[in-house]
Symmetry: C2
Subunit: 396 residues, 2 copies
């Protein structure tokens, strides 16, 4: 019997009718469907949709700058080793196509989903985890425009049953030190003393270690578990210097990593205590699993990064599902109607604020084409009159 | 008087009629034209054209994932500080658009060209260099399929007056250690004892330090100046370990860097002796100049990376034009007819194998729209029936 091969890769660009100029990454979505044999798998790229679609289908530039589809279509897909091989081929054949890691991520996730469905086991089982531990969901929210607004948001998070919350972006880091301290105190006041409080600076200080250091006293005073992304992903010296100045709070980063190396550098040279991985950017579930294993070795805690749909959330939890001591998980509480429409099966925290991966095969969720259709964008890319891409049919 | 602002950014995708599956990056080209006031500037992205065009014009996804054009069009362009500000804005506003660095690179180069033309000085003058030193061109070529072919290529390089040559890709690193040694000895035999010989492994060994170590004796025996890209850009531990095992030969890398940080990490943690920067990838001339200054501080030698047109060559030399002790420069000897057609003014080494930057304003070269027109690809990108991009007119 011929082993199954990847027969189709379909990308779907979906978005809210109106995109706001705010830090809410769930306003659009690049959904991926792959087919092999009689099976279908779904994934999602956490990426700008149009350049990512172009990276799938673009003409070859040279031997190390090929479209991602060229290294995936027609490839054997019988077991997880095939996914690893396909990923290596994409990295090598699209070495000079910068967007390739984002293109690959959604495809790789969909390949795992497909393999899990075919084998009738969850993806985390294929990754070698005997069981999936519940994770403590942290409500991921934007800071309010005022401390009062932040405190109200925090109080609601607590009332909703969450055991942890992260506040980020908005005005934080853009005003003075005192204003930022008020925001953090407001968040702590709203949460009460017993919940985890996390703060996300969204790279606002560039490489300015002193600006970040000035915020540490308020963070320590409010028992903040981590300070996330004080600097850009690559500012390793700044990370290392700030890490040396922290007492209780630890640094978190890594969401921008589009290769396991970049996350490992934050661990090895940046002194972070939490490594945050977005499976929709780093190349998918396999590379994220690799970082999780590296984190265990290094005594660093792995956390997912996700801000979009239940599909992306499930994909982001698989890589560390079996690590009992890595307990926190990002949970987007302000996801758009689009993100909430993506799957018929929701993923929500239980009464104790814990999120459990579904037991169903693959990613364990059913995509809802009918609910998504109103958000579908109609894209066409032509070169010299030849159509390289046209939005495929979502329902067939 | 209102200071001039960026009024237009035009991207042109050009390619040879047929793209071969070989490591020749000059088979296509993404040419950039910018206009501000009465002036025009030209640049080139070293990038896959279609995803790069999409990154210029794509719809916004959220506040940190905007199209690159949004941070450039309409911006004040009076002096070099404006270019730095525009670049910072692109990095921040397109933080989650991975391809953005490649999109930015060609635009940034064109902005420098425009400023230089308006001020009637070469770009290197704007960068603060009192003069541009001639560089020793190394002929950049692919290894032959056999040692005899490589030796013939090397003999021709010598006969053509070059004082240095680099051989890379092709069969090197893909066969056994003895076969690779024969290739290196053939290159040395063809060049004679007095020319610089450089070897490019094209990341062929992944992260396998032992595989690379096994090639060191032949490289040392043949007095090779550098071994380039034994590993992927991010494999810093592998670089550092191999660097410790080198006696005479030094490591070179950095061409894949799409941010100055990535090049700095190779210096700080990877132990490289030569840092190779492609201005068409790292974000343009400003970021490359930043790496050159960093290299001087660190005692590392800066080298350009370029494999395409004279326009790209000029852009790649400006960042270290004034560094007298950083003498080598990459010169593509096997550039495609497309790359050679790009400018009316060629850039060729003199009888001593030295390349000099033109004295003319900006990048010092005139683009030839008429010669390029046969290579122009006709691209159209539409979303929901609205055309976001259509190939502009090259001649107006």
């Amino acid at each position: 019997m011929t082993p199954p091969a990847v027969e189709a890769i379909d990308f779907f660009y979906l978005s809210m009718p109106r995109i706001e100029d705010i830090g809410d990454g769930s306003q659009d979505m690049l959904l991926v469907r792959v087919r092999a044999g009689d099976h279908t798998g779904w994934g999602e790229c956490e990426a700008s949709p149009l350049p990512t679609i172009a990276g799938l289908v673009c003409p070859m530039s040279h031997s190390a700058c090929k479209p991602v589809a060229a290294s995936v279509l027609g490839q054997r897909l019988a077991d997880p080793a095939d996914i690893a091989r396909i990923s290596r081929d994409v990295r090598a054949n699209s070495l000079d196509l910068l967007q390739a890691a984002h293109v690959l991520s959604g495809i790789e996730i969909a390949l795992w989903d497909l393999l899990g469905r075919r084998s009738e086991v969850p993806v985390h089982t294929l990754l070698g985890y005997p069981r999936a531990y519940p994770k403590t969901a942290y409500a991921s929210a934007l800071f309010g425009d005022t401390p009062a607004e932040t405190e109200a948001k925090a109080a609601k998070v607590r009332a909703d049953g969450f055991r942890a919350a992260k506040f980020g972006w908005g005005p934080y880091g853009r005003g003075d030190v005192a204003a930022d301290a008020e925001q953090v105190r407001a968040a702590r006041a709203g949460l009460g003393p017993d919940l985890h409080l996390l703060v996300d600076a969204g790279t606002v200080w560039g490489e300015d270690v002193e600006a970040a250091t000035a915020r540490l006293p308020a963070l320590e005073e409010c028992d903040v578990t981590w300070l996330e992304e004080p600097f850009e992903t690559g500012a390793l010296r700044a990370y290392a210097e700030l890490a040396r100045r922290c007492r209780g709070v630890r640094l978190a980063g890594g969401e921008g990593a589009h290769h396991p190396h970049l996350a490992q550098h934050l661990v090895d040279y940046g002194g972070i205590g939490f490594v945050q991985i977005d499976t929709g950017r780093i190349g998918g579930i396999g590379p994220a699993r690799e970082v999780a294993a590296y984190a265990v070795e290094a005594g660093v805690t792995f956390v997912n990064h996700t801000f979009t749909s239940p599909l992306a959330l499930s994909a982001s939890l698989q890589p560390y599902a079996g690590l009992a001591e890595h307990v926190l998980c990002e949970f987007p509480v302000e996801a758009s109607p689009l993100a909430r429409a993506a799957t018929t099966t929701p993923m929500v925290p239980d009464a104790d604020g814990q999120v459990c991966l579904p037991d169903a095969p693959g990613l364990g969720l059913e995509v809802s084409p009918d609910a998504l259709r109103p958000y579908l964008r109609d894209v066409e890319i032509t070169v010299d009159g030849t159509t390289l891409y046209r939005t495929p049919d979502l329902t067939t």
